[in-house]
């Protein structure tokens, strides 16, 4: 049981709080008010390994069409062609909202990017993506939780500062800092008297006690937003595109609530396209359209907060450069990532493109990564969330000296 971690929590937080307080003494109040505590960060984890060569087609690469064949996205201009980014890269035609944000200078597209993980297991790959280390085991907490413990204090607001938009907390947000979880599935009519009695019944059990008070606190945040919650569908297959939207709306609602969290984590699955992946239309296109719509819902929902928001969209690894025998792609390495939001200095594609020529592929099969995702994470946490660089290097991403922060991702 997670009891011991909870007990350390108070002391650890106190120490970090004291340090942060000392740091703020040197900063003028006006700057403090404007900057700290106002930034919002959403991390979207795409579980299953998104095909970066379909989401961000490198149509200008001479080997792209012959490798990706019927899954390739055509150059911009034609029917079902890519949405142009620059002379080499485009976006999948299903990503129209993201394309709009690129034109508005709010989207950075990363390509040939990967976590430090180099094998091809989803589950180890997701562990590395979320634990912030170079290997899948070694810690039970996530980098975003460690960053949370080092976040500058916000003025005048108590409560948990991060939320997982799901019933349970994914690895990236697990750890010493307390976080809440809230799925879009409604919990109407939980009897107040029962909750009070449970609080009493849990008084000697620290873990149950903490969880229940978090749950009650979260319910209060969404009290006025019951219409955003969805009831469970009786059918065993809920429509995919709607699901991302529901999750995104819940995230934005919580972040806009008084004293609500500044950080949210969203998960979306269904990217493991081993068979019949499709090209401009088909399986993956439907998934991408759902994601794009979900991101639009998030932006719409955040409304006035959007200008101070950055959304990271990441996946555990990319997929094979060549189509496999079943009109799909197998597990690969390098892929794409997105950073979108009103706070983002967008309109740029960041890619040290290694090319798709046979001799350039990793292990003769995968897009070779030339950019470490942790460099992106560090830059966002530094420039956007004001976690200091030293803490990032030591606590949040140990062993990441090779992953230099990508500067200039956030508007001044």
């Amino acid at each position: 049981m997670p009891g011991p971690a909870q007990m350390n929590n108070t002391r650890r937080r106190f120490l970090l709080g004291a340090g942060a307080l000392a740091a703020t003494a040197a900063i003028p109040n006006a700057l403090f008010a404007k900057t700290y505590g106002s930034a919002r960060l959403v991390v979207v984890i795409l579980r299953g390994a998104l095909d970066g060569l379909a989401a961000v087609p490198p149509y200008g690469d001479p080997d792209y069409a012959s490798l990706h064949r019927e899954l390739a996205i055509a150059a911009p201009g034609g029917a079902d062609g890519a949405l142009a980014l620059n002379g080499t890269f485009g976006l999948h035609p299903a990503l129209s909202f993201l394309h709009e944000r690129f034109a508005a200078g709010e989207l950075v597209v990363f390509h040939a990017v990967a976590s430090p993980y180099r094998d091809r297991s989803h589950f180890d790959g997701q562990n590395v993506l979320e634990n912030g280390l170079t290997k899948p085991i070694g810690t039970a907490d996530g980098w975003l939780n460690r960053a949370l413990t080092a976040l500058p204090r916000r003025s005048g607001r108590a409560g948990d500062r991060a939320v997982a938009i799901s019933q349970n907390v994914p690895l990236i947000l697990r750890g010493e800092a307390s976080v809440i979880s809230k799925s879009p599935l409604a919990t109407p009519d939980v009897d107040e008297d029962l909750l009070a009695r449970l609080a009493d019944l849990y008084s000697k059990d620290e873990w149950f006690s903490a969880r229940l008070s978090e749950a009650v606190q979260t319910e209060k945040m969404v009290d006025g937003a019951a219409d955003l919650s969805v009831m469970p569908k009786a059918s065993a297959q809920a429509g995919y595109p709607d699901r991302v939207g529901a999750v995104a709306r819940m995230a934005s609602e919580l972040m806009r609530s008084d004293g609500g969290p500044e950080i949210a984590v969203i998960e979306a699955s269904g990217w493991d396209t081993h068979a019949n992946q499709g090209g401009a239309r088909g399986l993956l296109a439907t998934r991408l359209a759902g994601l794009d719509k979900g991101l639009k819902s998030l932006a719409d929902g955040l409304g006035p907060l959007w200008p101070q928001t950055a959304v990271l969209v990441v996946t555990e690894f990319g997929r094979t450069a060549a189509v496999n025998g079943t009109r799909g792609t197998d597990h690969g390495t390098g892929g794409c990532a997105f950073l979108v939001g009103g706070a983002v200095r967008g309109g740029q594609v960041i890619a040290d493109w290694p090319g798709l020529h046979r001799t350039a592929l990793l292990d003769n099969r995968d897009l070779k990564p030339t950019l470490d995702l942790r460099g992106v994470f560090k830059a966002v946490l530094d420039e956007h969330m004001h976690v200091d660089a030293n803490t990032l290097a030591k606590l949040v991403f140990p062993d990441s000296s090779g992953a230099r922060p990508q500067p200039g991702l956030i508007r001044a």
């Binding site: 091809r120 019933q167 979880s181 919990t187 019944l201 319910e219 065993a236 699955s269 496999n324």
Partner: protein
């Protein structure tokens, strides 16, 4: 607490009378349950996988027809998708209901938990369209017969089950030098209007057999081994298709010689001679004997039955039993039941939603009558049956289930269960029958002070001692 541990931790929770039945010889009570197959405890009218799959094929034909008919109107394929879903839906519902009833009623709850354990180890996910109606058939047809048998038989039955082959896309994996591929490349030159189709392997099933079913991710295999194994099992398919995929009994495992990559192949340093279907079976037999496999299975069993961080001594004990018995699962279970680590009184596993629901059914001595109740319950609690979403299965550690939102959904469900509870049994008697010595005095006090028997039931179900095993 020995009887309580046998019934609550190894089993699925106590029905009235369970604790008494296990009291004399808790270990013998457990071991008597794991002899032979473990069929469903209820007589449910479930269609076997070949019938379910035949329904899918018929729905696909229907879809093709509908597409042709509505092509002029620019149909979006939604109706066609629904045709498949409608063909599958009744099967899924019946399977999920039978599973919950069996968990509620079985007199072999340890065997039933092991069925669930293996079903999750060899996970398929019903949220993939083709698997939707087949997921339960894997559990009932491949796992239940072999749950206390030899691991190699369990493994082979699972990897040759249509649900697994369809879930991990092996039915269309084609060897580059197979007769089908060579024939196609010859005929292509004759008719150049046909779009060029690339033939090749799909390595999904091969990779997951190694990573998730046998050796484990650190089991010492390379990408080259994955590729080679994928070639070895080209041709492992499902009967009943068209054209290149014609042949075989629809919905049954079928080895398609014409898709198989011919020739001897090297896997983990050993050369396997060409012998068609048996080439892959020989690899499975070797995988089932490896110490990495023994260690991986032992670790997962100990994590499930003892603690999230498996004590190494217990893992080692199970691993040795696995190896010395040639993968005789009954002997592995005997080593588990014989492990002192599993009998320590503090309950360390936070129940999954499945554990919670099944133990509730048993505590209240009820069995669901309608699939709808079961489906809604698991949707609410976040563990829709047979849909772990990934081939890794549902996570088996407390941290994966202990979100505050998850707790609130449990409270909501417990209060609904309480509101519907009509039996005359006193809540304190319920607590005694379902928790035995684990019931804390403060819980009993809370039950006595509850404002209604429904509220008392909700409090009992949400008590920390009921939420753990």
């Amino acid at each position: 607490m020995q009887a309580e541990i046998a019934v609550l931790r190894f089993g699925l929770g106590a029905k009235p009378g369970d604790l008494a039945a296990a009291a004399d010889e808790p270990r013998a009570w457990l071991m008597a349950q794991v002899r032979g197959p473990a069929p469903l405890a209820v007589n449910a009218p479930l269609a076997p996988s070949d019938q379910v799959y035949a329904g899918l094929l018929a729905a696909r034909d229907e879809r093709r027809k509908m597409k042709q008919e509505t092509a002029a109107e620019g149909a979006d394929g939604k109706a066609a998708f629904n045709a498949i879903r409608e063909a599958y839906q009744p099967h899924y519902r019946a399977q999920v209901l039978a599973r919950a009833q069996s968990a509620a009623l079985t007199v072999r709850p340890f065997a039933e938990r092991l069925v669930h354990f293996w079903s999750n180890h060899f996970a398929v996910s019903a949220d993939k369209g083709v698997v939707f109606g087949l997921a339960g058939t894997l559990e009932n047809e491949a796992i239940r017969p072999h749950v206390a048998g030899r691991f190699v038989d369990l493994l082979t039955a699972v990897e040759q089950h249509p649900a697994m082959i369809a879930f991990l896309d092996n039915q269309y994996s084609v060897g580059k030098d197979s007769t089908a591929a060579r024939f196609a490349s010859r005929s292509r030159t004759a008719d150049s209007r046909q779009p060029k189709r690339q033939f090749g392997i799909n390595e999904n099933l091969a990779r997951e057999i190694l990573e998730l079913h046998t050796l484990g991710v650190n089991g010492g295999y390379s990408q080259a081994d994955v590729t080679s194994f994928a070639q070895i099992i080209t041709g492992w398919s499902i009967g009943g298709g068209k054209g290149r995929l014609a042949g075989g009994v629809p919905g049954r495992f079928y080895f398609r010689d014409n898709l198989h990559e011919p020739g001897p192949k090297v896997f983990l340093g050993k050369t396997y001679a060409e012998q068609g279907q048996r080439q892959g079976e020989a690899v499975l037999a070797d995988l089932a004997r490896r110490p990495e496999t023994a260690n991986f299975i032992a670790t997962k069993l100990v994590r499930h039955f003892v603690a999230d961080d498996p004590p190494p001594a217990a893992v080692d004990r199970l691993s040795r039993a696995f190896l010395s018995s040639g993968g005789d699962l009954a002997q592995v279970y005997a080593a588990l039941v014989g492990s002192p680590e599993a009998w320590e009184a503090d309950a360390r596993k936070f129940k999954t939603p499945e554990d919670f629901v099944f133990s509730t059914l048993r505590a209240l001595n009820v069995s669901p009558a309608q699939p709808e109740e079961v489906i809604r319950t698991f949707d609410l609690l976040g563990q829709r049956q047979y849909t772990p979403g990934s081939p890794a299965g549902w996570p088996d550690t407390s941290k994966s289930w202990d979100g505050s939102d998850a707790l609130m959904h449990r409270v909501l469900w417990a209060s609904r269960v309480g509101a519907k509870y009509e039996s005359g049994a006193e809540p304190e008697d319920l607590a005694a029958a379902s928790l035995g010595g684990y019931a804390r005095p403060e819980t009993l006090t809370a039950l006595r002070r509850a404002s209604s028997s429904g509220q008392a039931v909700a409090l009992l179900l949400m008590s920390p001692e009921f939420q753990r095993r």
